[in-house]
C-alpha cells in the first residue's frame, strides 16, 4: 500500500525535482509488481520507511516508534485520503468545466481554478430592491410571461435561453456576446429580459421596450447589440442612444411618444415585477432549460447546458 501512496506523492513532487522523479519511478515499479500479484522486491518500501524513520527519530523517538508500528495502517490512511482527494479533485475539475465553479453551479466557495471567483460575480440588485438572499434554489420562471419579452431566433429549436441582464452592468456586458453567439450557433430561441440594476440606466429599459414594439425582428436586436458593444459612458448619454436609434432607422417621433406614454411605464414596471418574481439576485442570470447560471460563466458552461458535455460535436 505504501508504494501506491509514495507513487502518487512522489509523482507530484517529481514535477519539481529530478530526485523525486527517480523515486517515483522506483515506486511505480513497486506498484506494478504489486498489481501483477508479485512481491515488491525492489526494496523501495523498506528504503523509504527507513528514510522517514531516520528523519523522524531525530526529532521524536516516540513519534518514530508510533510510525514504525503503524506504518501500514498509516499508509492505508494516506491512501484513502489520497483517493478521496483525487476523487474530489476530479469532481471539482468536472464541475468547473461544466458549471464554471469547482463546487457546483453558482457556488461561491473557493475554487482553485477560479481563485478570484470571477465566474460567480454578479451585479447585485443592491439598493434598488429589498435584499434578496443569494440562493439559486428559489430561482423560477413561473409567473414570467417570456413571450412578452424580446426573443431572438424565436423559430429556433431546442432549449430556450432566458437571459436576465442589464445594459450598464459589467458582468452582463461580458456575458451577452457569449449568449448571443451560442443562440446563433445553435439556432436557439433567446429571450432578453432587461433589468436595470443601476438606476441611471432605467431610461434604457423603456427605450428597449419601445424599440422592440416598433421593430421586433432585426433592428431591435441590432440596437441591443450596439448598446452592449458601446462604452458604458456612452450608454449613459441619452444623445448617444438617440443617435444610435436614428442611425438604425427607427421612427424617432413615434419612439419618443412611446417612451413618454404612461402605458409604457406600466408595462415596463409590470415586466420588472415579473423579473423580480424569478427571485434573481443579480445580473446576469441565465436560464437554459432547467438549469440556471448566475454570474458570467465561460462560454463552454452555457454550451454544455444547452447541448451537453460534447457540445462541440453537435451541430
Amino acid at each position: 500500500m505504501f508504494c501506491i501512496v509514495a507513487f502518487i506523492v512522489l509523482s507530484i513532487l517529481g514535477i519539481f525535482s529530478a530526485a523525486n522523479r527517480r523515486l517515483a519511478k522506483e515506486a511505480m515499479d513497486c506498484v506494478f509488481r504489486r498489481i501483477t500479484f508479485r512481491p515488491c522486491n525492489t526494496g523501495f518500501d523498506e528504503k523509504m520507511k527507513a528514510k522517514i524513520l531516520g528523519k523522524v527519530i531525530m526529532r521524536s523517538e516516540k513519534l518514530a516508534s508510533f510510525i514504525n508500528k503503524r506504518f501500514e495502517i498509516l499508509a492505508w490512511a494516506f491512501f484513502v485520503i489520497g483517493m478521496a482527494a483525487l476523487v474530489m479533485s476530479v469532481r471539482g475539475l468536472v464541475l468547473f468545466y461544466t458549471t464554471g465553479s469547482c463546487n457546483g453551479a453558482n457556488s461561491e466557495a473557493f475554487c482553485v481554478f477560479d481563485p478570484t471567483g470571477a465566474n460567480n460575480d454578479v451585479s447585485d440588485l443592491g439598493g434598488t430592491c429589498p435584499v434578496v438572499p443569494k440562493t439559486i434554489e428559489n430561482l423560477t420562471l413561473e409567473g414570467v410571461d417570456v413571450q412578452s419579452f424580446p426573443t431572438r431566433y424565436a423559430n429556433g429549436t431546442g432549449k430556450k435561453i432566458i437571459f436576465i441582464g442589464c445594459y450598464s452592468c459589467d458582468y452582463s456586458r461580458a456575458t451577452y456576446p457569449l449568449i448571443t453567439k451560442l443562440a446563433k450557433r445553435y439556432n436557439t430561441p433567446l429571450a432578453y429580459l432587461e433589468y436595470p440594476v443601476k438606476l441611471h440606466s432605467d431610461y434604457l429599459n423603456k427605450v428597449g421596450y419601445c424599440a422592440y414594439q416598433q421593430e421586433p425582428y432585426k433592428y431591435y436586436w441590432l440596437f441591443n447589440d450596439a448598446i452592449f458593444a458601446a462604452e458604458k459612458s456612452q450608454i449613459e448619454d441619452q444623445s448617444f442612444i438617440v443617435q444610435t436609434l436614428a442611425d438604425l432607422g427607427f421612427d424617432m417621433p413615434k419612439l419618443q411618444a412611446c417612451i413618454a406614454d404612461p402605458a409604457t411605464t406600466t408595462v415596463v414596471e409590470s415586466q420588472m415585477e415579473q423579473i423580480r418574481g424569478t427571485n434573481f439576485y443579480g445580473t446576469p442570470t441565465v436560464f437554459i432549460g432547467d438549469e440556471v447560471f448566475v454570474g458570467p460563466k465561460p462560454y463552454r458552461v452555457y454550451a454544455i447546458a444547452l447541448k451537453g458535455f460534447f457540445y462541440w460535436l453537435r451541430k
Partner: protein
C-alpha cells in the same frame, strides 16, 4: 598515530557530517593518491613501455616505481612477481583460468568465502571437472584447522582461502595452512582483499603461491589490484587475456609471448591507477601496520562493548573484537539490515554496509537474511565509534 592529522589527508572527510564505516567495501583515498593520479594526467599522460618519447619514459618509470613499491609492500622476491590487475576478483579468475587443472583435482575453500573466491571455482568445476570442497569454520567463524587437515589429500591441487574474511573480519592462520598444504603438495592462494589494507604482509615468509588483493580497499584507486605469484608458477601459466603488450612479436600464425608479468597485463593499463596504487601503499607503510591494527582494535572494542547489550543483537564472528580486525558485523532478529543502515545514514550520515556482503552462500546456509557491517579504518575516531553506538541504541528503541 595522530588520527586527526591523518583525517586531514582525506578530502572526503572535510564534511563533518561524514562518518564512514564502510572501508571493507572501499576505503577513502588520501590526497597523496589523488595527486599521484592527477600528476599522470596533467604531466605525462602517455603509454608505458611502448613509445620512445619523454612522456613515455616518465610514465614507464612511474609504473615501475609503483611495482617496486608493491615489492616492498609484499616483501616479494622480484618485481616480475607483481601482476597488475583490476581487482582481487580478476586476480583469482586469472589463476582459475590459467593454472593447469585436470579433472578430479580438488580445490578447497572455506564456508564463508566472498563470491569472488567461490564462483570462479564453481565455473572451473563445470568446465574442467574439478571438485570444489568446502572447509567448515567453527561456529564463531574462526578457522577449523582439524576440518582442513581432514580434507587435505593428494587430490587437492589448490587451497584458496580468504586471508581475512570480509564477513566477520577473522584472519586465518595462513602460515600453518600454507605449510600443511605444501606438505600435501598443494598450492595455496590467498584472497587478501581484506588483509592487505590492515596487516603487515610478507609473502616470502608466508611462502604463499598466489596472493591477490585490490587497490580500492587500501586507499588506492578503484579498478586497480595486484596478483602476486611465485615467478616459477607465473612462467608455467598460460596468459589469461592476450593482445597488445603481452607479446614480443607475432606472425600471422603465432605469437612470441613476453615473460611475466607482461604476458598477463594485456592491453593498455590504468597507468594513473597503478601510480596511485603505488602512492597508496607507500602512504600506508609510512603510517605503519602496527599502529593501524592497534587503532582498529580500539575502535572495534568501543563498538563491540557499546552495542553488545542491545536487545536481540547478534554478532557474526567471534565475540572477541581482537579476532575481528576492524570489522563488526551484526544483525538484530526481525529487523531488516538495510533499514538499520539506511536509518544510520539518514540520522547522522553514518555509512555502514548492509545485506549479505557478497557471501550469500554463508547466509543462505544459515537462514540469516542479512547483517550490518561496520568496518573501521585509520581515519575513524573513537567519537565516531560512539556515535555509531548511540545511534544504534536509538534505532533499537524505535524498531
Amino acid at each position: 598515530m595522530d588520527v586527526n592529522k591523518i583525517r586531514r589527508d582525506f578530502p572526503a572527510l572535510n564534511d563533518k557530517e561524514t562518518v564512514y564505516f564502510d572501508s571493507a567495501c572501499q576505503s577513502l583515498r588520501p590526497q597523496v593518491v589523488l595527486d599521484a593520479m592527477n600528476e599522470y594526467y596533467q604531466h605525462f599522460p602517455a603509454c608505458s613501455g611502448r613509445s620512445m618519447h619523454h612522456f613515455a619514459a616518465k610514465v614507464t618509470q612511474k609504473v615501475e616505481d609503483a611495482r617496486i613499491s608493491l615489492i616492498k609492500f609484499l616483501n616479494a622476491a622480484k618485481k616480475e612477481e607483481i601482476v597488475f590487475t583490476r581487482n582481487t576478483t580478476e586476480g583469482i579468475n586469472l589463476v582459475a583460468n590459467t593454472l593447469f587443472f585436470k579433472p578430479g583435482d580438488v580445490i578447497l575453500i572455506t564456508d564463508k568465502e566472498h563470491n569472488s573466491n567461490l564462483i570462479p571455482w564453481q565455473k572451473l568445476c563445470r568446465q574442467k571437472g574439478t571438485i570444489l570442497k568446502i572447509v567448515p569454520t567453527h561456529p564463531d567463524g574462526t578457522f577449523d584447522l582439524d576440518a582442513y587437515t581432514k580434507l587435505l589429500d593428494p587430490r587437492v591441487r589448490l587451497v584458496s582461502f580468504g586471508h581475512t574474511s570480509n564477513l566477520d573480519g577473522v584472519t586465518i592462520p595462513a602460515a600453518e595452512i600454507i605449510k600443511l598444504a605444501h606438505q600435501n603438495g598443494s598450492l595455496v592462494m590467498l584472497d587478501a582483499a581484506q588483509s592487505a589494507p590492515h596487516r603487515q604482509l610478507n609473502v616470502r615468509n608466508l611462502d604463499v603461491d598466489f596472493f591477490a588483493f585490490s587497490g580500492h580497499k587500501l586507499m588506492g584507486p578503484s579498478g586497480t589490484g595486484v596478483l602476486y605469484a611465485k615467478y616459477k608458477l607465473l612462467e608455467e601459466m598460460e596468459p589469461f587475456m592476450v593482445g597488445g603488450d603481452t607479446v614480443a612479436s607475432s606472425t600471422y600464425e603465432s605469437a612470441d609471448f613476453l615473460p611475466p608479468p607482461e604476458k598477463f597485463e594485456a592491453g593498455l593499463q590504468d597507468y594513473a591507477g597503478i601510480i596511485g596504487l603505488g602512492a597508496a601503499v607507500e602512504y600506508l607503510q609510512k603510517i605503519g601496520f602496527n599502529a593501524i591494527q592497534k587503532h582498529e582494535l580500539e575502535l572495534n572494542q568501543a563498538i563491540t562493548v557499546g552495542i553488545r547489550a542491545i536487545p536481540g543483537l547478534k554478532f557474526i564472528g567471534p565475540a572477541d573484537p581482537a579476532l575481528r580486525g576492524g570489522i563488526t558485523t551484526f544483525y538484530i532478529d526481525g529487523i531488516d539490515s538495510h533499514r538499520i543502515a539506511l536509518m544510520l545514514d539518514q540520522m547522522r550520515g553514518i555509512m555502514c554496509r548492509s545485506g549479505q556482503h557478497c557471501v550469500h552462500s554463508w547466509f543462505h546456509s544459515r537462514g540469516i537474511t542479512g547483517s550490518v557491517r561496520a568496518s573501521a579504518y585509520i581515519y575513524n575516531t573513537l567519537e565516531e565509534a560512539q556515535l555509531l553506538v548511540d545511534h544504534l541504541i536509538k534505532i533499537r528503541k524505535v524498531l
